[in-house]
């Protein structure tokens, strides 16, 4: 008997039990699809994070408030330790390493134009905001220092806000009036479109107003949410970081031990990248292990069905043995059956998982592509699972005694 004959017998048996074969494959399909999609999404997320953190520029530092009692995870809105004067001091005292500073506040705000309402994020920041964060102006003008000094009620809108309030992204709204938490503002410009950032946040869904206006006319507070610092060179970024830390410790009159008693955190791009990569790495491992578990469950499903199949087909096995099939013939047929199930399941799972990855790519706008490695791994593993979990049932079938097998109904 040739291997092709064995293959034909196996194929025939699977075809004769279409429903069962399909359901058995489903376990593997889901497992493999999960692996392929999880790895693709995980790697897409990692690539996206690396890319967008990279885009921030490697000469930026971020200073965020921290509560020494609670650690850096504390929501910055509740920690009131950074002031606009800190930013001015940094620019003045660290001028050899720092080129620009941008103190800013963030808050949620209700924007109104006519009878249209839109809840969005308001960023109050100094004019350097646009340069430091790579924003552009698509319409009108940007905010300037005289707006800042006069605490002017002027606003620059993001594209999403324009679309929500005026019906179209390209609506010319410069010169119109909008209300931010019932305070009337004049629209002076529209930001260029930027898309989603690292954290999945739509960067076009925000409005920008002068920092002083935000602090004194909208939010009534004295502290800022963060200070972005642009350094003169990426080579001196470590030096800048040290200077800023010691400056702020002095200004805030902090006493050792450090960094435990620091009421702020200075993050560089490299540190942000490291944190984000750790997060996405953990995410990928988590997704992959869930996927791996479901693949194993799929494999056990195959074993289960093959065992049932051997019991149910005892008589068929008896007939085949009586007609001259050797143990090896029977074992090969059952092994090929389970391998076929898992390989077919693996291939369908790759297609299915690839589809999920593509949909995820559409939604997240991340660059998600199923990698060849994950495809080969998933198909290889599923074939391995088919043979591994199929071996015991196949052996059981092969060892059946012809007479006892024939007696079974």
């Amino acid at each position: 008997m040739t291997p092709l004959d064995t293959f034909r017998f196996a194929w025939r048996a699977l075809r004769d039990n279409r429903m069962r074969s399909g359901l058995t494959m489903l376990g593997v399909i889901i497992g493999v699809a999960a692996v392929v999609a999880a790895v693709a999404v995980g790697q897409g997320a990692a690539a996206s994070v690396t890319n967008s953190v990279g885009q921030l520029g490697n000469n930026l530092l971020y200073i965020v408030p921290a509560n020494p009692r609670l650690g850096p995870g504390e929501p910055s809105g509740l920690t009131q330790t950074l002031k606009p004067s800190d930013a001015e001091a940094i620019l003045a005292r660290c001028a050899n390493t720092v080129s620009r500073v941008c103190p800013m506040v963030r808050s949620s705000v209700l924007v109104k134009a006519g009878n249209q309402n839109w809840r969005t994020t308001v960023n109050g920041a100094t004019p350097s905001f646009l340069v430091v964060n790579n924003f552009t102006i698509s319409l009108g003008r940007q905010l300037n220092q005289s707006d800042e000094d006069a605490r002017s009620r002027v606003v620059v809108l993001g594209k999403t806000v324009v679309e929500s309030l005026f019906g179209s992204k390209n609506a010319n709204c410069v010169g119109l009036e909008v209300a931010l938490n019932r305070v009337r503002f004049k629209v002076v410009g529209v930001l260029g479109e930027k898309g989603t950032n690292t954290f999945g946040e739509n960067q076009d869904d925000m409005v920008l107003i002068p920092l002083n206006t935000a602090l004194y006319r909208v939010l009534n507070q004295k502290h800022v949410s963060a200070i972005s610092v642009e350094c003169r060179s990426s080579d001196t970024i470590d030096l800048a970081q040290e200077q800023i830390i010691s400056l702020l410790r002095r200004r805030h009159r902090l006493s050792p031990p450090f960094p435990d008693n620091d009421d702020f955190t200075v993050l560089s791009q490299a540190q942000l990248l490291k944190i984000m990569q750790t997060i996405t790495g953990v995410l990928t491992i988590l997704l992959a292990s869930i996927a791996g578990i479901s693949l194993t469950v799929g494999g056990i499903g195959i074993m289960n069905i093959m065992l049932v199949s051997v019991t149910e087909r005892t008589r068929e096995i008896g007939i085949r043995k009586a007609l001259g099939a050797t143990e090896a013939n029977i074992r090969a047929q059952f092994l090929i059956e389970s391998a076929l199930l898992s390989i077919a399941g693996g291939i369908l799972g790759v297609l299915f998982g690839g589809g999920i990855a593509l949909i995820a790519a559409r939604i997240s706008k991340w660059n998600i592509t199923p990698t060849l490695e994950s495809v080969l791994l998933a198909v290889g593993v599923s074939a391995g699972i088919g043979i591994f979990f199929g071996y015991w049932p196949a052996r059981k079938a092969a060892k059946l005694h012809p007479i006892e097998a024939l007696r079974r109904e």
């Binding site: 008997m1 040739t2 004959d5 017998f9 025939r12 004769d16 008589r315 068929e316 008896g318 007939i319 085949r320 043995k321 009586a322 007609l323 001259g324 099939a325 050797t326 143990e327 090896a328 013939n329 005694h401 012809p402 007479i403 024939l406």
Partner: protein, 247 residues
Amino acid sequence: MSLITLRDIRKIYRMGDQEVRALDGVDLTVGDGEFVAIMGPSGSGKSTLMHILGCLDAPTSGTYHLAGEEVSAMDDIELARIRNRMIGFVFQSFNLLPSYTALENVELPMVYGGIPNRRKRAEVALERVGLANRMDHRPNELSGGQQQRVAIARAIAGEPRILFADEPTGNVSTQMGEEIMQIFQELSDQGITIALVTHEAHIARHALRLVQVQDGHIVADSPIRRRILAREWLETPENLTTGILEL
């Protein structure tokens, strides 16, 4: 020349504490071209004997030579080869694969044997048993008699030297049983060796030699004197109503 030689064959089953001696010292010699009927009541050991002869079961002790080879010393692969090449088997319950067509069922043993032209051979065998127009039917589309004829075609397609039949007429009508016996007699006339197990005297009388088994022993072994020829029997329709017991 003897094709089959059994020497002191014993088959002992253990059922709990009890020892069941299904075969208890059987000696039997069957020559090439013989047509032997093995008869005996239920539990006499005739089916066990048939399974051992057909290499489906191994004896507990004793020696079995088939065409000069010692079967009792063979491993799984050699036994499979003997069953495949040397032996054709016809069962009482047909034992066809339900999802395979008649033709595919007949091809099956030849697939395991790696025999060339198996489609052609299978067609010839099915024509031989009168099922040329039923080749693509599945077993559940065939009558019992037709299924048994497919099984006979399957047994003879690979041209074995011996045909073993275990109650081949047990599950079919009298008429069909007679037609099946006619095929056996024709095969016997062509020189193939046949051993047939039955508990019906009428069926046994189609053979040439009768071996009677009881309690694991051969109790009688003689030629059949008044042999029934199936062809003649079928030409006499009133035969179908004979054999009714009148009390």
